[in-house]
């Protein structure tokens, strides 16, 4: 579900970066109440573990294929939603930078689609609803499966909206969603089973780790208004994007904002004006705009000229580069 850069427009990327940054800021503030210094090595080392664990192939019985662990729910259950979300953010950043798993511009989207839903919805709200403070084997399995499925479906839904809002694909929304949701339902089920297996093992080996033992108290200090604020933000984003799809008329956008927040101004970061401007920039890339400069951009001479320039760049680069520096012989090592 990692989105590549090519699948987002700068406007959508910006909006999602903002949402993810808000969630991250929230999480850092939430961590300050607990033992921040202690949570840092825990997040770092657990992050590295999840990174490596994601590469393990878990073979699915009866099929020839394998599933993988995502880790959002796992991290949130063990470290609490704040630490879990920050760890997922870092994992996604490192995946993007070191392994090109997801784009740098699309990082905001990926953090939201995989980190936010996995940690706050699946790993916190759903976990709390099913397991609460009295974990049992059955409840852990149920929570893991439902949490993973719900997070993945929400993530898939968001990917669809973000891609469509970026004007990248001509796929109609209904087709896109009919393609994305069933696949992610299956992926979610598999992930849920893997997560369940690991959490049951931990529950039996070291139950203390599961019982809100994370450095932020397992989100125990997370209060209802905070949960509502996060849900409101989520609704605002998805609602805004939906309304944008329904009509590219800016009035429609302000209508949806008004409906959600009860006012025409969004409190906290960013005014509606800035946000609407961002969406309007995005609107400029929709099919309505299609014929504005298509002549120049797609003329044969234009394309040929660009290819010539690229070839020239290559030749210039070869000619101008400094001579190769021979590697120094190193002393004993390894």
């Amino acid at each position: 579900m990692h989105m590549a850069d090519a699948l987002v427009s700068p406007a959508v990327a910006g909006v999602m970066y903002a949402c993810s940054a808000v969630a991250a800021g929230f999480s850092i503030r939430g961590l300050r109440g607990g033992d921040l210094n202690r949570s840092i090595p825990l997040m770092g080392v657990m992050g590295a573990f999840v990174f490596a664990a994601q590469m393990i192939n878990f073979s699915i019985p009866g099929t020839g294929s394998s599933g993988h662990l995502c880790g959002g729910m796992l991290l949130s259950t063990l470290l609490g939603p704040y630490a879990g979300f920050l760890t997922m953010t870092v994992i996604l950043l490192v995946q993007c930078l070191l392994f090109a798993d997801g784009g740098l511009m699309a990082l905001g989207c990926n953090v939201w689609n995989m980190g936010f839903y996995g940690c706050f919805i699946g790993g916190f709200l759903i976990w709390r609803a099913f397991v609460g403070k009295a974990p049992t084997r059955g409840r852990i399995i149920a929570a893991s499966i439902v949490g993973s499925v719900v997070s993945l479906l929400l993530g898939a839904f968001s990917v669809t909206l973000e891609t469509l809002a970026s004007g990248i694909t001509e796929l109609p929304f209904a087709v896109f969603i009919r393609f994305m949701l069933p696949i992610h339902l299956v992926i979610g089920l598999v992930e849920g089973l893997i997560t369940a297996a690991v959490l049951v093992f931990i529950f039996e080996a070291r139950p203390g780790l599961l019982q809100g033992g994370g450095p932020d108290g397992g989100g125990g200090r997370m209060k209802a208004p905070a949960v509502l604020a996060i849900l409101a933000a989520a609704t605002l984003v998805t609602g805004g994007l939906l309304s944008h799809l329904a009509s590219s008329d800016p009035d429609g956008l302000e209508w949806s904002v008004e409906k959600v927040t009860g006012s025409t101004e969004v409190e906290g970061g960013g005014s509606v004006g800035e946000w609407a401007a961002g969406v309007q920039d995005n609107t400029a890339l929709l099919p309505d705009y299609a014929f504005r400069d298509s002549g120049k951009g797609t003329s044969f001479s234009g394309i040929f000229g660009a290819l010539v320039v690229l070839a020239l760049c290559f030749v210039i680069g070869l000619l101008l580069r400094k001579p190769e520096v021979k590697p120094e012989t190193e002393g004993e090592g390894g």
Partner: protein, 248 residues
Amino acid sequence: MKPLEIDNLHFAYPATRRGEAPHAVLTGISFSIGESESVGLVGANGAGKSTLLKLICGLLEPVKGSIHVSGTEVRKDTLAQIRRELGYVFQDADNQLFTSTVRDDVAFAPRNYGYSREETEEAVDRALRAVRLEGLEDRPIYRLSGGEKKLASIATVLSVQNRLLLLDEPSIALDPRNRRNLIDVINSLSCAKLIASHDLDFIYDTCPKTILLSEGRIACMGETRDILRDRSLLEAGGLELPLSFSRA
């Protein structure tokens, strides 16, 4: 003030299950280490060696008794001060080396303690020279061999002036050459040392004095050569004669 003084130390882990008694690990431990003295700490698995080291640097709190490092009692409010006086070298070097390069790791403590840039560079150079790793400052940790990692982890605690060095199983997983190198390095250090190890030959080569721990108590304390030649004493403590003596 001696670098280390321990008086009637008791420690127990809290019970993990309801109805169980706390699990006693150390009982009535008393000894001291003088300036530049090198003392070995030997005992079977579970004898309490690592626990003792952790108590000394305040990672664990005793149930009873006291520990003084350079005259200051180890308590919650004195931890920062105590930790400037001692260095702890973890058994697993990967737990000790948590930054990206050798330089960053060795400079970690000086930078945290407010050394200036020049002082830090000097401290790093000095520490790496002491462990014979000059030239590896910019090497990333993942590229170090096992022996280099062990020496680098010692360098990380030498970069600040310690009066006392605590080493937990330093010779584990080292090949003979690296082990010999480590012995030479440790013997060249002038600070007081407490070395916990199963490697009795290593202890013989580095520590004139030894403490034998058995089931949480000090079974014997004295000259290393005497303790390590006493087969019945060692076997009672769950150990065997070191190779150097078993052929005799």
